[in-house]
């Protein structure tokens, strides 16, 4: 034990019951990883999986509605389908897919080696996965939630709605997202590379930051609503019990106070991706970078002032309705600003029509349509006709699918080479894009018509005499086209993964820091943290403008400004012609190897065998300490579903869940974030 002497406390040797995991390969290494890149991949794979599940739910819905008086599913099953489809797509697909990109690309784009709290990052992922599985386990435990994704109480308190799983599942997912939001916000604020001021960050990172703040502030409101709903169901409290004087509108306020910022949480990451992709494929900088950033921030702020536009028909009164109608119309402005800036980015650019660009263009087009229908909702009398009809369903699918999903696919195709070291087939990608674009419009375009013809939402069948038969059938055909496009995508993925890893560091001739390092990056991300001088730092290292303003490649060895003396630069490489190859950053020659080495002590061997440029003779054996893997995050996360089941079924089980959670947290708090090196290299900068 340490001698306890004033001012001289010696750190006692650490005791732990279990040895720290050290695996770098295999399943166990994924279970215990704290590497943001692996966590990003885990999020991505899980969300694609849930996308297929949610998509299947959608196909069942469409099959049921293809014909009048459909008999594919019963009314109760249909309620479950649309509830789970919505929950899945929002919470288990779009949010985690965005998180996949925040996690993988965020630290790279700011020139950091990982996030601020790597184990917390792992915990977020496992809590998300267990929350999603918990939600889906309800199918086996008496029925999945069927009260709609926005669960209006007190109807959602009926036993037949099974909303206790909804409440608990979303609470778990909320914990995962809140914790992740704190982590990423701290990372972006504190861990940017030297010289990267806030206004030199990529737009994607800015949108990430805004989203994290939205999550921090919006999720607690949902949490309170869910607790109140759950307590009503499980403990008989009276939050929404109108017989005791409660007000059902309280649920709506609490939910939509969360729910509206939530939709900006869903769209801003995709907007960030589009803001990255367009400049690369137009070979022009983003038009109006500060304005695009400010618009994103404005959307984040203004998003708090519009929630009751989801409640125009709830009887709030004309004053409230008018106020929210105005604020809703105003919030269209910053979005419009972004669209104009994107168009201006493309204007006059040298456009390369590759798949990532196509999806970004699709985003812009589809989002404009969805945004326009949104503006029509802002007009309260018009909304009285539109609300709870398929017109609304059209709107949100255009912005969330045509918007978020298209934007996220743009990111998938854009960053695939960086993550996997392989480029997805462009021809298959284009096939995916066109099938998806056409299929999407054939599916959801008719919803505008059906809505205005009076077809209500959430009905499991409709009369053959309502006049809705034709467009419903067309829509179903479109939905299967979407399904085929997804199959094309999956085939592309499988086929590409069978190929060897040949992607260079910078296959797209891109602009931001993540393209400096190898594809995929080594565990420590960068051999040397880059020093940043401007927005699009990487681009300016590759290209300068000559006197006529034309782009000219920077010659290797050319001065890189005052910082090269400090040796903090990766090599300046020859500017790349369209077809030329690029010398990858020095560093691990096999940096493209198995998902980064996962070693705690990556050897950064600068200047090895690449022989270019100045600015890089560093001592060999320069060790970079990365955080060590840990199993406590997954242990702690495991406590949550156990607690959830316990609260539903057995207090002993609940106590176990709490104990597991606490044990995980205690173990985590008591282990250092990185284990010390067994022996220190004698020569080597520390």
């Amino acid at each position: 034990m340490a001698a306890v002497v004033q001012d001289q406390v010696e750190l006692a040797p650490r005791r732990s019951i279990f040895a720290r995991p050290t695996a770098t390969h295999g399943v166990w290494s994924w279970v215990t990883t704290v590497d943001h890149k692996r966590i990003g991949i885990l999020y991505g794979v899980s969300s694609i999986f849930f996308f297929l599940v949610g998509g299947s739910e959608a196909l069942l819905i469409r099959l049921q509605l293809a014909r009048p008086n459909g008999t594919v599913v019963s009314a109760e099953q249909y309620n479950t389908l649309f509830t789970m489809h919505g929950l899945t797509m929002i919470f288990l697909v779009v949010m985690p897919l965005s998180a996949a990109f925040f996690n993988y690309m965020g630290p790279l784009m700011i020139g950091a080696r990982d996030v601020a709290f790597p184990r917390l990052n792992a915990f977020s992922y496992w809590a998300f996965l267990f929350g999603g599985l918990f939600l889906y386990s309800s199918f086996l435990l008496g029925g999945a939630p069927a009260g709609g994704w926005f669960g209006y109480a007190p109807l959602s308190e009926q036993p037949a709605s099974h909303m206790q799983f909804y409440a608990l599942g979303l609470l778990m997912l909320g914990i995962a997202s809140t914790v992740s939001a704190v982590n990423l916000a701290v990372t972006v604020i504190n861990m940017r590379a030297p010289g990267m001021s806030l206004f030199r960050m990529p737009v994607f990172v800015w949108m990430t930051l805004v989203v994290q703040f939205l999550l921090i502030f919006a999720l607690p409101v949902l949490t309170v609503g869910l607790f109140e709903l759950f307590f009503d169901i499980r403990f008989g409290t009276n939050f929404f019990n109108f017989t005791k004087g409660a007000d059902p509108v309280l649920w709506q306020h609490l939910f939509w106070l969360f729910g509206h910022p939530e939709v900006y949480i869903l769209i801003l990451p995709a907007m960030g991706i589009v803001s990255e992709v367009l400049p690369v494929f137009a070979r022009k900088p983003l038009f109006g970078y500060p304005v695009v950033v400010f618009s994103g921030i404005a959307i984040g702020f203004m998003g708090w002032g519009v929630w009751a536009h989801h409640m125009f028909a709830a009887g709030l009164g004309p004053v409230a309705n008018s106020a929210f109608a105005l604020s809703t119309m105003f919030i269209a402005v910053p979005t419009g600003v972004k669209i104009f800036n994107w168009v201006a980015t493309l204007w006059g650019g040298a456009i390369r029509f590759k798949t990532p660009l196509l999806f970004s263009l699709g985003f812009i087009a589809m989002f404009i349509i969805g945004g326009l229908s949104g503006v029509t909702h802002a007009v309260v009398p018009a909304d009285y006709q539109q609300t709870d009809t398929y017109y609304i369903v059209a709107h949100f699918h255009y912005v969330l699918f045509g918007g978020s999903i298209f934007g996220l696919f743009s990111g998938i195709y854009y960053w695939w080479p960086k993550i996997t070291g392989r480029v997805l087939s462009d021809s298959l990608g284009k096939l995916h894009f066109w099938l998806m674009l056409i299929g999407f419009n054939v599916t959801f375009g008719p919803f505008h018509i059906l809505g205005l013809q009076g077809m209500p939402r959430r009905i499991y069948r409709y009369s053959p005499f309502a006049g809705w038969n034709f467009w419903n059938f067309v829509s179903t055909v479109g939905s299967f086209m979407i399904a085929v496009s997804i199959l094309v995508f999956l085939y592309n993925v499988v086929r590409t993964q069978r190929r060897p890893k040949l992607a260079e560091a910078d296959p797209w001739d891109a602009r931001t820091l993540e393209w400096i390092t190898t594809s995929p990056p080594p565990a420590h991300n960068f051999d040397e943290i880059p020093v940043v001088h401007s927005v699009d730092e990487f681009w300016h290292r590759k290209y300068a403008e000559d006197r006529e303003g034309r782009l000219a490649p920077v010659i290797a060895g050319a001065s890189d400004g005052p910082d090269s003396a400090s040796g903090g630069e990766p090599h300046v490489r020859p500017g790349r012609p369209e077809a030329g190859g690029v010398v990858g950053l020095a560093g691990d020659v096999d940096g493209g190897g198995q998902e980064g080495r996962g070693d705690e002590y990556a050897e950064a061997e600068q200047g090895d065998g690449h022989g270019d440029g100045p600015g890089g003779q560093h001592g060999k054996g320069h060790k970079i300490h990365m955080p060590s893997p840990s199993y406590y995050p997954i242990v702690a996360a495991l406590g949550l579903p156990i607690l959830g089941y316990g609260v539903l079924y057995s207090w002993f089980l609940a106590a176990d869940g709490v104990l597991i959670l606490l044990a995980g947290l205690f173990g985590w708090a008591n282990e250092p974030s990185a284990e010390p090196e067994p022996e220190h290299a004698p020569a080597g900068a520390e």
Binding site: V9, T178, P220, V224, K244
Partner: protein
């Protein structure tokens, strides 16, 4: 910690809003706030919690000076004061239940118990953190260089205390007239 506390602000904000929305709407016939509160008792309890914030500050000052023994003493004092507060809450809750006010009784019971109950859970988690710090100090794992950990726990503790001040004012002190 600040970012986490920001989200906690919204959490308690929503709970307090629910309480405020339903204040005075309880259907007559079941216990109401005015009848059942024992303001002097709860005032003592509040004072105890406020004092715990003072001891927390003293604990932080101790570790910043490198004084491990005082650190542990003040941390324990904070934890004990917190436990006193919780015991006071438990006693208050059981009294209310005996007097006929439960979670299910009426709007007041529901909103009161959930709001103060959430706060109590937060205090309890804080006590666990404080005791962990005492353990770490005993183990020699809390040197001056790691004083930030104590500062963070202190932030959390002060936050919980401030929330209580708001709750006490809004829930107990401001009369509802019914």
């Amino acid at each position: 910690m600040w970012a986490f506390l920001a989200s906690e602000c919204l959490l308690f904000g929503a709970l307090i809003s629910t309480y405020l929305l339903y204040r005075g709407k309880t259907i007559p016939g079941t216990p109401t706030a005015k009848e059942i509160y024992d303001i002097p008792y709860t005032s003592v309890s509040s004072f105890v919690l406020l004092m715990s914030s003072l001891t927390m500050v003293l604990a932080l000052a101790s570790i910043q000076r490198g004084d491990q023994q005082k650190l542990r003493a003040w941390l324990m004092a904070t934890a004990l004061l917190g436990m006193t507060f919780i015991s006071g809450q438990v006693y208050e809750f059981t009294t209310f239940v005996k007097e006929g006010l439960t979670l299910k009784t009426n709007l007041f019971g529901t909103t009161f118990f959930v709001l103060t109950g959430f706060h109590g859970v937060h205090v309890t988690v804080g006590i666990l953190m404080l005791l962990s710090l005492v353990g770490m100090s005993l183990d020699g794992r809390l040197p001056v260089e790691k004083s930030e950990v104590v500062e963070l726990v202190g932030l959390y503790w002060h936050f919980v205390d401030i929330v209580w001040i708001v709750i006490f004012t809004v829930v107990y002190l401001i009369p509802t007239g019914k």
